[in-house]
Amino acid sequence: MFHHFFAPVSPHTHTAEYVGKLLFGLVFVFAILAVLQAAPKTWRKSIIAVFTFLGGIYYAVEFFWPADKIGPNAGENWLTPYQPFVANLSAVVGSFSVGIGMISLLQFHTRAIARQRAGWGNSVALILCFAAMLTFGLLNQYAPHLTIIPPLLPFGPFAPRAQNSHDVFNFLYLGGYANLDAATFSLIAFYIASASYRAFRVRSWESTLLMVSALIVMLGATFGAAITGGIHPYLSPGVENPWANLRIERLSEWLLTQINAPAQRGILFGIYVGGLAVSLRLWLSLERGAYFDKEI
């Protein structure tokens, strides 16, 4: 019966039932929220703790419940099929928060414009670009062939053909967004150069280790091979040269696989255990810190 109640209803053939159920859904959830709101304030922390625990219980039980070993659903238990649904549900509810950031940012910039704060012209540009990207992004989805700019001139950069919403979207996304993204990413190249100039100094034992290891790997990747190129990898066909292990590219490879790998794994031990501890504290409402200590 439960299943039947939640079954899809065609809005075209059963319009009344569809609208009724929509209204019911809204009223039902709002009623639950109203009850929660009406509960005594002292209960609120416990209510939050219960909901937090319930939030985590699905994935935890799904993991610990034994899975079928054989049969058509091997590797699954009775909860596994709901995984996509839970993921969808949390994604949908989570996306409703999109407005929070947007409101915060637009508020900041509209205020900057209203008060004509220094650089308010930039705020105008920001809001215009936001509106344009949103509009043409959606038009590109729903009406990509809609003409936006009619063919103005028979020649020139604005091409003799009309620009539709897909073209305008490409102008904004490929011309603007993608190029600015790549340009920002490439800023790192400059900063990596200045950071290595400053950081690679034989100041202490630790900074020396950092520098030597970085230089070996850098050389191993480019012309380092020339420095130790005299050491041939083979003594004679089929016979390895043991000294070839001292070639810079081999040293670099050794640093990356024999030093870097275990060190990173050691860090992982702490990070995974730390993550486990924080997750447990959050799940069981044992967490401490600013947000969690507050009286509500």
Binding site: G99, I100, A182, G266
Partner: protein, 224 residues
Amino acid sequence: MSEYLCHLFAPQLLLGAVGTIAVLSRVFKENRLYRLFEHIFLGLALGYGVEITWTEVLRPQFWDPLVAGQWAWIMTVPVGLMFYGIYTRRFEWMSRLLFGVFFGLAAGTVFQDFSGGFMPQVIKSYKPLVPPPPTPGDHFLTLHAVSFVLNNLLFMTILFCVVLYFLFAFEQRNRFIQGSARTGRWFLMLAFGAIFGSTIMTRMALLIDRMYFLFVEWLRWAKP
């Protein structure tokens, strides 16, 4: 000539080129053009982010099923509205309630993540300290055997020292423990240096590609 000019002023290319120059000019001096493009970038990103949220999540997972008859999705709307409780004193705790559910969801996956994502790493650290049986025709049997054992021993030593360095609750009074932890830090520095060195090429390739875009694709000052 006019063909070249048309190419230079093709809107999409021109916007990309001017934007690239504006962003890169930042490294020399913070300037007006840069500031303008910083804001343009933020505006485009915000619009794009909202558009993606609609087209990739809300439309396929919420709106389409809803109008196709799966009416129960409507119930997510009041739940989503709980986020906006942070704007009022009265309903602020409602947003905490919803945050709590999300924290719970994230925390619930930790067991699977730990067992499936991390435990294999522990198991991969079983490095045998006995060389494998010799391969026939190996000219440097001893060398290979010794380097195999030494490398694996080094692996275990580094792992041991680094984990010891990350212990917080024990006073490191013991000389051996102290020394191991300090050695662990040295190994960490070697590892960080190696990461630094191996990242440079990819980052430089990005800048080279930007220059390719400006000088070859846009200005056409050189052949591709």
